[in-house]
């Protein structure tokens, strides 16, 4: 680790160029060959660089919003592999596949290498001076309220700079959009606990009932939850936690559950209320108003509505009563439906009734720097932006960290509305669907060449500022970091304030060093503080205490009604969020495309999951190409038949079906976002992701599905390969 003081930028230059010679010798590194650039040899290298010995630098993963600490292995100036930063309390040295594929985002051959200005249908390479000048000109030429900035979730110093820039423009239109975000759950939590994102202590729970939360796969902070899950399964005292997953389409978490309950889609809230009723009947003390509100939810009725058997409801209630504390989590149950908020409220109520609040549902720490605190994205932001664009209220649009053209449902007509915006600037790594529509495309540094700070929304303990630092010299001289771009833009607007900063690095360093007291470095000199922060990769902050409400109350509880079926579109479409591809922004990383989906083992394509019963009814077998038609559109994909899905439901994974972006993503699969119906959560106005009804018809073709699983399927054929036993037969505390 870097503990001594040195000029890191210079170091990286030396390292980078040295490395470049090693890496690219004979590979046509023309700029060096042409004599335009110098190569510094290893003759006078720093003593910590030993050729063939890997050096590790800590940084922060930018592949998803969980903000895991990463440790890049650098050798001869090249970053080779990302490993987990053991000092980060989020992932404690562990990683997921998605995070590790960050190197492929960095080394991706399809990255944009210079600013491109639209010229007809083509992008014309221009200089940064020209590009930034053009932006200055365009934002100067319109009213401030006509400038809109669309971003993904932001935090840290980039967020602060962005806010300053928007302030400097006088525009308040910052749309923070995440296509896949637990925003309805946040709202419900806020209502129930007074906190949007409480800390979940899976490791303390003895029973977890998850209503569609794929916390092991793609939900909020999966690597962190996976570690908690390991402790939950094998606690120090040997007690093994019980995981019950209630959902309509099996997620990775569902596949790991002791009991996976296939529930009729959207009836999770009913089950939660039914459980409260059963618990009350079993003698759990339940506040009077709650008991009154749920008294109609008898096991029989709940079973009829939800499709979960009486027996399982009874066993689950008994388990919850017997083993405390437990933890109830609302995932897709909240995000999926028009009454998602109501579901989530009911589920939160179950948590409160069980007395879990304060035990397994904890208050997080407040962030001491609100200007850097994470602004989580939601889907409503895109609706708002879209409406404004439709009404010609947006003249200059910036888009950063989002790919709305890809992730917006077709019914939003976003692409058409975008055309009404006269000047669209997209900050991008790839020519993705949104960049293709842009007037000006500004290429960003990869996350492994850029400076930034991040504050993850979900941190296990305290608060934390994660530092993202370059792990190697930039691959392309024509790219720029987001921080640098914002700084340059701010220099146009507020030159006096920012001219002292040569680049974002110097801004960041001075911003952090000047706040070192609050950042836990009060007793250190500037250099020591800074180097320590960089070498650790994270700065622990003293969080402010936050209150959490544990009062169980039936207030705000709206009894969710079961669905009305639609005979023209008889099936529910669940767009599945896969652990690898999420909303599709990482689809151009080949490791992720070739990493088999855990449940179906399918690679390199989309698929339609279907229950054997449904398939039999429709005369469909595995590999049939079907047309999945909703009111808003239709897609065609291959069918995969398995029993991990409710018969009323089909599921198509998100993230596939790119029409642009790059060689590994383009043309792979179909985009399930496109056919989502415009149904919204009644309380928050968020798009209800699972509310799309579809009909499935055979398209006539049949293919052999490309998957890892063989013709035996998941059958062990009686051979002792993966073995399972009842947990009652083992004493885990005796194990090592």
């Amino acid at each position: 680790m870097i503990e001594n003081s040195f000029n890191r930028r210079d170091f990286l230059k030396v390292l980078g160029w040295g490395g470049a010679t090693v890496a690219l010798s004979g590979c046509g590194n023309t700029s060096v060959e042409d004599g335009k650039e110098f190569v510094t040899s290893y003759v006078q290298t720093a003593d910590y660089i030993i050729p063939s010995i890997g050096t590790y630098f800590n940084s922060t993963c930018a592949q998803c919003d969980a903000g895991c600490g990463i440790m890049g292995r650098v050798r001869e100036g090249r970053v080779l592999k990302l490993e987990g930063n053991p000092k980060s309390s989020i992932n404690n040295g562990k990683m997921c596949g998605l995070g590790q594929a960050g190197v492929q985002a960095h080394y991706n051959p399809d990255r944009i290498r210079e600013p491109l200005l639209r010229n007809g249908d083509k992008g014309e390479a221009i200089t940064w001076e020209k590009a930034l000048g053009l932006i200055n000109e365009k934002v100067g030429g319109v009213k401030a309220e006509n400038v809109a900035f669309l971003t993904g979730g932001v935090s840290g110093h980039v967020k602060a700079l962005l806010k300053n820039y928007l302030d400097a423009l006088g525009s308040g239109h910052h749309y923070v959009y995440e296509a896949v975000a637990p925003s309805i759950m946040r709202a419900a939590n806020k209502k129930a606990y007074g906190i949007e994102m409480p800390r979940l202590r899976l490791d303390k729970a003895k029973v977890i009932v998850s209503f569609g939360a794929d916390f092991l796969g793609a939900w909020i902070s999966p690597v962190h939850f996976s570690q908690q899950y390991a402790r939950f399964r094998k606690a120090d005292n040997g007690e093994r936690g019980v995981l019950v997953q209630v959902e309509s389409k099996m997620t990775l978490t569902g596949a790991n559950a002791d009991r996976w309950l296939a529930i009729r889609p959207g009836t999770e809230g009913i089950l939660a209320l039914g459980l409260i009723n059963s618990l009350a009947a079993a003698g759990l003390s339940v506040p009077g108003d709650v008991a009154a509100a749920v008294k109609d939810y008898t096991a029989d009725r709940v079973s009829k509505d939800t499709g979960v058997s009486n027996e399982h409801i009874g066993k689950l209630a008994a388990l919850l009563k017997e083993r405390s504390p437990s933890l109830i989590i609302a995932g897709s149950a909240a995000e999926g439906y028009a009454h998602g908020s109501q579901n989530a409220t009911a589920i939160a109520l179950l948590n409160q009734v069980l007395g879990n609040v304060g035990k397994t549902v904890e208050a997080p720490s407040g962030v001491p720097f609100p200007q850097m605190a994470p602004t989580p994205g939601n889907r409503f932001a895109l609706q708002a932006l879209n409406d404004n664009m439709a009404q010609d209220k947006v003249k200059v649009l910036f888009s950063y960290g989002a790919n709305p053209v890809f992730t917006a449902p077709a019914s939003m007509k976003l692409k058409e509305n975008l055309k009404k915006v006269p000047f669209k600037v997209v900050f991008a790594h790839y020519m993705d669907e949104t960049a293709v529509e842009a007037d000006l495309v500004l290429p960003l540094d990869s996350a492994l060449e850029d400076w930034a700070t991040a504050m993850p929304e979900y941190i296990a303990e305290g608060a934390q500022l994660s530092i993202q630092q370059p792990l190697m010299e930039k691959l392309y001289p024509g790219t720029l970091g987001m921080g640098d771009i914002l700084l340059a833009l701010l220099k146009q607007r507020r030159p006096d304030e920012y001219k002292g900063y040569e680049d974002f690095y110097s801004y960041l360093r001075s911003a952090m060093v000047s706040n070192k007291g609050a950042l836990g470095g009060a007793n250190e000199d500037d250099d020591t503080f800074w180097d320590t922060a960089l070498s650790r990769g994270v700065v622990k902050l003293v969080g402010t205490p936050v209150n959490i409400s544990s009062n169980a109350s039936a207030k705000g509880l709206v009894v969710p009604a079961p669905f009305v079926e639609d005979s023209a579109y008889p099936l529910h479409l669940i767009p599945a969020v896969s652990a690898s591809l999420r909303d599709g922004r990482n689809a151009n990383e080949p490791w992720l495309q070739e990493s088999p989906d855990p449940l179906t083992t399918i690679v390199w394509d989309s698929w339609v999951e279907m229950h054997p019963k449904t398939a039999a009814k429709l005369g469909i077998v595995e590999g049939d190409i079907v047309e999945v038609a909703s009111k808003s559109g239709a897609i065609k994909a291959q069918v995969y038949v398995f029993t991990g899905i409710h018969p009323d439901v089909i599921s198509v994974p998100l993230g596939y079906g790119h029409e642009a972006m790059g060689r590994y993503a383009k043309g792979i699969g179909v985009n399930a976002f496109k056919i989502l119906d415009p149904v919204f959560d009644k309380e928050t106005g968020e798009l209800a992701m699972h509310e799309t009804r579809v009909k499935v018809t055979k398209a006539g073709q049949r293919v052999i599905i490309v998957k890892d699983e063989g013709p035996a399927g998941g059958n062990q054929m009686g051979r002792k390969i993966a073995v399972r036993m009842s947990s009652s037969k083992v004493n885990l505390s005796e194990e090592v």
Partner: protein
């Protein structure tokens, strides 16, 4: 029923008839040769493509690491066994009807071994490193792994090939002398002069010749059995269900003799026509050959049933699953075709009327070999498709055109070698036919008329 070789045939006539085959075959010969070369072209093209692109183009995969190359390799190795059977075993047994046909059977042995050897090369992922299999001294003290059945294969095939080439050659020396004495100019004269080593047919030469020939014949019989047993142990030594069968070595040997006999019938008919050998390759010989083939077919059928039965009644569920898969899975049509061609079709050969009906025999003998080739493929493909580990089963693997092309071309290669041999060297053993005629006439107390009119 055709006539057998005339006992009173003039010896000079024998020379003349056989030597004529070196000069002017029927036009069919050239047609066959042309087709053979075209087939080789297909194989060479396929191999170049495979060599430059990678083994993947043969459409094998991590479940099916072996494919038609190994199957066809076994097929050709097997084919080679009947030459040994005819020339060595029947020689020891003094069955004189072998004499007109053993030469080409031996040639078949040699050339099918040479064809089989090519498949070893074609099969390797890194053909250019094939010499690693050879035990040669080197400064790294690295040797081949002598425990590997593939190394045994290498030893066995090298031994078998060199022994059978020598056997063929030694047995041909007196005939080469005849060629030398009857051809008066050109490269052939030089070739025969050199190759006949100055053979004069002296009593000393004949005496040593007889012992040598007998000795090598004695060596060849156990060698042939061991070669195919070793090829069988490529499979039987492995733990793959469907391969790990004790009866594999005899099963392979029987299969080898079977396909070899069928191939001899095919080539018999072709040579008889192309080189006008009707006088020597007579129908009574064919009849004996067909009966021999029938007997071996029944032995093979029995061993096949034994294999199935021992798997069926054995305790190894995995092997049993494998067998059921073979008979009912996607490979079932080929499996049952193998049973039909290998066990049912040869029943025809038991009927006298078919035993000398050359057109029917020609078709049947080819079909028998189709069956035997299928047998080898059915050992390879279904086993890989349905092994120990269900996760990696792969029931949908079919060889690509590249594989088929090379397999197809191998038949051209064999045909080319064989036909060229028959054109350059006497494919009927003249001196042995004379011996046969002589001994038969002695038995008849009748001395042939030495001055046959020609």
């Amino acid at each position: 029923m055709g006539k057998d070789i005339r006992e009173d045939i003039a010896w000079a006539q024998i020379n003349k008839d056989v030597l004529k085959s070196l000069e002017s075959p029927r036009r069919m010969y050239w047609v066959i040769l042309f087709i053979a070369i075209a087939m080789i072209g297909v194989a060479v093209g396929s191999e170049i493509y495979q060599y430059t692109t990678g083994m993947g183009v043969s459409n094998k995969n991590n479940s099916h690491v072996w494919g038609l190359y190994i199957a066809t390799f076994i097929f050709w190795i097997g084919m080679s066994h009947s030459g040994t059977l005819l020339s060595a075993i029947l020689h020891l047994m003094h069955a004189d009807w072998r004499k007109p046909i053993y030469r080409f059977a031996e040639a078949m042995t040699t050339f099918s071994l040479m064809t089989a050897g090519l498949f070893v090369l074609v099969h390797l992922g890194r053909l250019w490193q094939v010499y690693y299999v050879m035990p040669y001294p080197n400064e790294r003290w690295v040797w081949p792994n002598f425990q590997s059945p593939l190394v045994w294969d290498m030893f066995a095939i090298a031994t078998y090939l060199s022994s059978s080439v020598l056997f063929l050659y030694v047995g041909m020396i007196p005939d080469l002398a005849i060629c030398r004495d009857n051809i008066h100019a050109g490269w052939r004269k030089k070739l025969y002069t050199v190759m006949s080593l100055g053979w004069e047919g002296t009593d000393r030469q004949w005496r040593n010749f007889r012992i040598t020939y007998l000795t090598i014949a004695c060596f060849l019989i156990p060698l042939a059995v061991s070669v195919h047993s070793i090829v069988a142990s490529d499979f039987a030594m492995s733990n793959m269900p469907g391969w790990h069968v004790t009866s594999f070595p005899p099963y392979f040997v029987a299969g080898a003799l079977y396909s070899g006999c069928a191939a001899i019938i095919t080539l018999f008919i072709i040579l008889r026509y192309v080189f006008r050998f009707e006088e020597y390759m007579t129908l009574p010989i064919m009849k004996k050959l067909v009966r021999l083939t029938f007997a071996i077919a029944m032995v093979w059928t029995y061993l096949n049933l034994i294999e199935f039965a021992s798997v069926w009644y054995g305790h190894d569920q995995t092997a049993k699953d494998q067998l059921i898969f073979k008979a009912t899975g996607p490979y079932a049509p080929f499996f049952w075709a193998m049973i039909f061609f290998g066990s049912i079709l040869p029943l025809m050969l038991a009927f006298k009327r078919f035993q000398t009906h050359l057109p029917i025999l020609f078709v049947v003998s080819i079909l028998l070999n189709v069956g035997m080739w299928l047998e080898r493929w059915m050992i390879i493909a279904p086993s890989f498709a349905h092994g120990h580990y269900p996760w990696t089963w792969d029931h949908d693997q079919w060889p690509s055109l590249v594989q088929w092309g090379i397999v197809f071309g191998s038949f051209g290669w064999f045909t080319l070698l064989f036909m060229v041999f028959c054109k350059v060297f006497p494919s009927v053993s003249m001196y042995e036919v004379k011996e046969m005629v002589y001994h038969r006439s002695l038995a008849l107390k009748h001395k042939p008329a030495v001055k046959g009119e020609y």
